[in-house]
Symmetry: C2
Subunit: 309 residues, 2 copies
């Protein structure tokens, strides 16, 4: 799956992933009105608004971007209806040819990780019927439980062409509290140890660009650490959150790419999906043109990233 992602990035000359992390405060009134009219002021109403919003953004951007990354928490907070909107968003994006990174940050002991693996990357068997419940291409996972908690994903990675992004150095300002803790007498930070584990796990999953199907989440908000990790982990592809609304600039994340200008995909969520609410775009696009504002924000982000690559 990493080869397909890199090919799409190369073809479109755009290492941008659109974070589909809707909030009700971002949804234009006309979409909310219709959803709440049909479903009431309910969880199903919120879910319907999210799906309609996402579909329009996907329609307006899919020809420019390799991938989308829905953040499951934004959907899960609206219960089962919200989860269905997440699942429907995944399906809609895939139908449009997009690669889908499910930002779920799951993990657990092996038997439980297997359930997440089957649900998100694989299939479940119900009395002989095989059903694909979620269908993402990649998911994000948490490394705290070690190799045992990652191995349950390997089968679907191999047999169904799937991938992972494992948390290494997250974009929050305080990520260093645990992730930068110095290990042993040499004092390397914990996140480097995690990065090296990812490199080891991914050795059996390297594709034709030298990158493996097990990538790392490395925040744009920590430029020095990103650059250091890029050197340390030449085979590990990075998913880079933190650009834009969280404060990371194109210059900050340039070090996450290698000399050939590959090695990372950069997420922007609010900056793209709520572009019409940003004063940079709001004079030009009305609320019912929100998706066109998102398209313009994608073009601007692409230009900004290509400036430093």
């Amino acid at each position: 799956m990493i080869d397909k992602l890199i090919e799409q990035i190369q073809k479109l000359q755009n290492p941008t992933v659109v974070g589909l992390d809707p909030r009700l405060s971002m949804i234009p009134e006309h979409i909310k009105e219709k959803a709440f009219e049909e479903h009431g002021k309910t969880l199903a109403g919120a879910a319907a608004a999210f799906l309609a919003f996402n579909q329009e953004i996907i329609d307006a951007t899919y020809d420019l971007i390799p991938a989308v990354k829905p953040q499951v928490a934004m959907y899960e907070m609206y219960g089962a209806a919200g989860m269905q909107a997440f699942i429907d968003t995944v399906a809609y994006a895939k139908k449009k040819g997009l690669i889908v990174i499910g930002d779920v940050k799951r993990n657990d002991i092996a038997s439980t990780a297997q359930a997440y693996s089957d649900g998100h990357l694989g299939e479940v068997e119900i009395e002989g019927e095989l059903i694909e419940p979620f269908g993402e291409d990649f998911i994000t996972v948490n490394p705290y439980l070690g190799t045992e908690s990652i191995e349950p994903y390997f089968e679907h990675m191999k047999n169904r062409d799937k991938g992972l992004f494992v948390l290494v150095k997250t974009s929050n300002a305080g990520s260093g509290e645990i992730q930068d803790l110095p290990m042993g007498s040499e004092g390397h930070p914990l996140y480097e140890t995690v990065g090296q584990l990812i490199d080891k796990w991914g050795a059996a999953f390297r594709g034709s660009y030298g990158f493996s199907d097990i990538g790392a989440v490395v925040g744009a908000t920590h430029p020095e650490q990103g650059a250091r990790l890029r050197q340390l982990l030449p085979h590990v592809f990075f998913l880079v959150p933190g650009y834009g609304a969280q404060g990371g600039t194109a210059e900050d994340l340039a070090g996450c790419f290698n000399r050939e200008g590959i090695g990372a995909i950069v997420n922007s969520s609010r900056g793209i999906i709520a572009a019409y609410q940003n004063k940079k775009y709001s004079h030009q696009f009305k609320p019912d043109e929100f998706a066109q504002a998102s398209r313009q924000a994608v073009l601007d982000m692409k230009a900004d990233l290509n400036r430093v690559l």
Copy 2:
């Protein structure tokens, strides 16, 4: 919420939490037949089977146990229908007076953690309507993103009497790979640092037994570490997985309790909910008596734990 949990444990003389982690292979045929007849061989069919199974187990055990701990992965793998069965299980258990620990192991950067907090412990607002999507009393969370990722839960802990269990030392055999890494020149393991952070976070949330609403997940499969953590963290209550099917014995986890015999709640999942499939109980209970087998397994576990306390 920790006071309520401790009171229930004391009243029932039973520090057992039943892990409601159903799998289709555990569900008796008569329940599956009915569910698949009504819903087809679908995700909704699996979800209906889980809910019916859980309800019968809750009915047969609620007077003996303080709490249940549904593992969300087992439900999430069946998509939105599965999530609804999780939510319905939470509601059913609460209606029976049980404390519910949602074993969700979520976490993310603060703005996203807020979504998990609102969804699982709080309410969401939809056009002025307040809806409680999940309704657990406690959830489990992952500490890798640091203090910033825990603070979003504090408001609901304070205002809605909720609690957390943060992963410290998990029950899997390989948990030490990351969790035991020696920190700095003194070489204390990472999980101790995480434990000390939990103690700090919980200082503002201590109840009348001296324990705080922010507990720690400490596996029964690591007896020495459990005992060491109990000494190190006298104000942190432990959620102890790994008893029974995972290999932890009552003796192994005795060190997780303090001298007064409090300080921990011990989870058993398969050992209780699939007791009727275990040869210890299968001669005595037929598949349609599965819930009575679970009741007997709870009584046996209670006796086993009280033997060492």
